[in-house]
Amino acid sequence: MELLLKPWPWYVSGPLIAIVLLLLVYFGKSFGMSSNLRTFCTLAGAGKYASFFSFDWRTQRWNLILVLGTVIGGFLASHFLTDGTPIALNPQTVEDLEQLHFMDAGGELMPPELYAWDAVASLKGISILIIAGFLVGFGTRYAGGCTSGHAITGLSNLQLPSLIAVIGFFIGGLIMTHFILPILF
């Protein structure tokens, strides 16, 4: 039980994610979380504006149910399966973050400097979250997938396009982390 409550090491978590991928393949589906954003747009009536959203959302019902499950899973894990152990970040990472004025790195899952209500209440704070979300939504659909669709499923299925997409993920992530975050914070 104690092991269950502690953070799980990569060699436990990674294989469990592979099981998710394989289960979905066995169920005749392809693991891809970002597709749901398109489905949400369709449900919100986006089909009136672009044919890209004119599809039968019911074919994605399984994926919407999966999203609901992930929310429940997040609730269960954070309320019943944790002992509050801080994230064991590299001390160098913690130091680098202090330089960017991120204090208490690893104390919570997400930095209050970005996600606390008072951070969001500032123009800068809310702009950052909106721009970040927009880039994720635009980029993932342009690339035809995100971490689950390309990095996990596509690479496992030896897809060259997925490798190119993952290289793109890293180009973008490295630019943001090394050059843009130091300007923003």
Partner: protein, 137 residues
């Protein structure tokens, strides 16, 4: 009832991503700083075992739940959309510290401000849908 299994897979996935800390902004930052093996270990072992699992599933000739052979659609060929779209996604990923799976999981953990990111991601997806025919793919 047919959909129940997807709910269970989702719950399982949500728990794994929280317990692995892969839903944490800090872990994403650390990964892009190359300061920990943690995220590389998670993704790397998932891919290696996924590869092995897919290979064995296909080789075994096992049918999927609907009675069809095990198969996964190939991605369309191309470079531009994957490289440019991927880079745009990466910029957002490292800024928000969450990708399209963790976004929902984080709502479950009680981080309600992430809903702003989800709504903005819908807006980004909508913008792509509008511009799709004008973008190089």
């Amino acid at each position: 009832m047919k959909l129940m299994k997807f709910l269970l897979v989702g719950i399982f996935f949500g728990i794994v991503l929280v317990k692995s800390e892969a839903v944490s902004w800090y872990r994403i930052f650390e990964m892009f700083k190359f300061q920990s093996f943690h995220m590389y270990g998670i993704i790397g072992s998932a891919v290696v075992l996924g590869m092995l699992g897919l290979f064995l599933l296909r080789k075994s000739g096992l049918k999927n739940i609907t009675g069809d052979p095990i198969s996964l659609a190939s991605k369309e060929k191309g470079v531009t959309r994957y490289l440019v779209g991927g880079t745009i996604f990466g910029l957002g990923w490292a800024l928000a510290g969450a990708c399209p799976g963790p976004m929902y999981i984080l709502v479950g953990t009680g981080l309600f401000t992430i809903v702003i990111v989800i709504l903005a991601a819908m807006l980004g997806t909508f913008a792509y849908g509008l511009l799709r025919n004008k973008l190089p793919h």
